[in-house]
Amino acid sequence: QAEVKVGLITTLSGGGASLGIDTRDGFLLAMDAAGRDDVEVIVEDDQRKPDVAVQIADKMIQSDKVDILTGIVWSNLAMAVVPAATAQGKFYLSTNAAPAQLAGKGCNPNYFSVSYQNDNLHEAAGAYAKSEGYTKPFIMAPNYPAGHDSLNGFKRFYGGELAGEVFTQLGQTDYAAELAQIRASGADSIFFFLPGGMGISFLKQYADSGIELPVMGPAFSFDQAILQAVGDAALGVKNGSNWSKDLDVPANAAFVSAFEEKYGRLPSLYAAYGYDTANLMLSALDKAEPSDADAFRAALKAADFDSVRGKFSFDTNNHPIQDIYIREVIKEGDIYTNKIVATAIEDRSSAYVADCPMQ
């Protein structure tokens, strides 16, 4: 009989399944390595639907009596689950989604983001654009909250003039019109945030458009899984990330090789966050039981674990303070992957700390 139950809700079926699968695999890798039989992980598929995620969370809380929830990939699903779960006194550790509301006014002592705050990777791209001396970037993102956060994040650290700012449609697959706009705008660089298939489509069409400008984006569109589908079109793109497989940290090297050995593929960002989240949780479980909420919370907050990202600590709003890097897409043999080329922002916390009542 396990003493601590963890509910991992993530997307395992349908279009966005690859992200959830990596999250789960990273998380379970760490759990296996720890070999603790007093911790039971229950995994369920949310189908990327908010109402299903809520239902699973209810089931985990009511029937399985879990102590800790984790695993959600998408911000809108997190917004559906996290407030209700924390209101019921459960802990939620985020492996990816970290929307602005939950970092600012809506922060909660039982909610910890182990990944980042959503804006961070875009901020890194903005900082990079500024340091490279670009004066007319063209920026675009889909028209939904995460897209707005993205462009705001970029602008926050870039701060200069823009050649154009465009919101595309969510799920758009054809970017001919945007490419024409870019060509006509006289831009000197491009920043885009187009998660999933949108990014693949854009990059392929960009490569074929004859436009040759430096391209930047957040790490999501250049993740291990996606790069193979984009191919050459992605080479040379700069992207902001708080992790990379070549990050020179001992814990990271161990993680990458263990992941490759177990699953036969390179780990992605999501796998890294899943792995870190599990290790953070294990480190806290060593010190306290979740039933003793205050002690457990303090143990989490101490972040006393070996992060694959090296430096890692929590700010007052329970979001990480960490370095954020710029990676470049390269080809290693037959495999497309990333390497770190610069540190964009050191010890970055998040823009919303001040709004959070926890100080």
Binding site: G15, A17, S18, A176, A177, S209, V230
Partner: protein, 306 residues
């Protein structure tokens, strides 16, 4: 916005319309001709794209990939018709909706099971990469021009098949009264299998062609399915001409809406929120277009009057 950019955007709209037509063509054929609501059309589109990506990965030949896409989608279509669709003709539209919805689930997860959850790589052929300079100095991707060519060829071929061949006439007769056409000595079952396979093959072709400039992944079919339905409904069900014109209208509305509406809103607010609200309206534009067309002409632009 300069006139030349505007011209380029119009061209983009037309081109995206032709691409849409390619997707909608097979659906019109099955939907209009056989009277079957085939929600699984998007899945056949996906099957084509995956078959193409797999074969391109193995052989490196885009042409072989296209052949594979056609073959795989046609085979999947024929199989589906024989096993499932065949039992649905006599049932009403609702059963067709449910059954083909079930097929989506089976196809999507089956594909994921075979190919994994990660998107696949499929790129345009070397010969068609890069751009061509059009009059007026517009640099236009060669591959997209080729797509326009294929779309027009498909349109002509389908129109000819449907209106001019005895096969087409019999198929349409079967849509009116299946029992009667059989009583006149036509093996309507075989005919329908054929049509379904043909429609599926067109979907597969579209999947492979469009997949090369978009992403080949599970679930790629559903958004396309909706757009394809929008197109054929605007054009009028069963009309190839309608599908083509509907596709062009939708392509233009979508492209120009996305470009012009934010510009328009800039007259009233700051650029960032103009971009946002303009884009919000742009995403509703094609549906507003469709509703307006149907309110004005309840059976689409070229549909038979009810």
């Amino acid at each position: 916005m300069s006139p030349i950019l505007l011209a380029e955007q119009v061209l983009n709209g037309l081109q995206s319309g032709v691409m849409l037509f390619l997707m909608a063509a097979g659906l019109t054929l099955i939907f209009g001709v056989m009277g079957l609501i085939n929600l699984a059309h998007g899945s056949l589109y996906m099957v084509g794209a995956f078959a193409a990506a797999a074969v391109a990965g193995l052989t490196g030949s885009f042409l072989l990939a296209l052949v594979a896409a056609l073959a795989a989608a046609a085979a999947a279509g024929a199989l589906v018709e024989l096993l499932v669709i065949r039992r649905l003709y006599a049932k009403d539209h609702l059963d067709q909706v449910l059954a083909t919805f079930a097929l989506i689930l089976i196809f999507s997860e089956g594909t994921r099971w075979l190919f994994g959850s990660f998107p696949l790589y499929l790129d345009i052929p070397e010969a068609l990469s890069g751009t061509v300079t059009l009059p007026g100095g517009i640099a236009y991707p060669a591959y997209r021009l080729a797509l326009i060519g294929v779309g027009i060829a498909v349109a002509l071929g389908l129109w000819w098949l449907n209106a001019r061949t005895r096969l087409g006439i019999r198929i349409r007769a079967g849509e009116n009264d299946r029992e009667m056409i059989a009583a006149l000595g036509v093996d309507i079952s075989k005919l329908y299998t054929l049509v379904f396979a043909l429609g599926a093959a067109l979907a597969g072709l579209a999947g492979a062609l469009v997949g090369a400039i978009q992403s080949v992944q599970v679930g790629m079919g559903e958004p396309v399915l909706i757009l394809a339905f929008v197109v054929i409904v605007i054009g009028g069900i069963g009309s190839i001409k309608g599908a083509l014109i509907g596709a062009l209208l939708v392509g233009l509305t979508d492209t120009l809406g996305g470009v012009l509406l934010p510009e328009l809103f800039k007259l009233f607010t700051d650029p960032a929120s103009a971009a946002a609200s303009g884009s919000a309206f742009a995403s509703m534009a094609i549906y507003i277009l469709m509703a307006a067309v149907l309110i004005w002409r309840p059976t689409g632009l070229f549909g038979a009057r009810a």
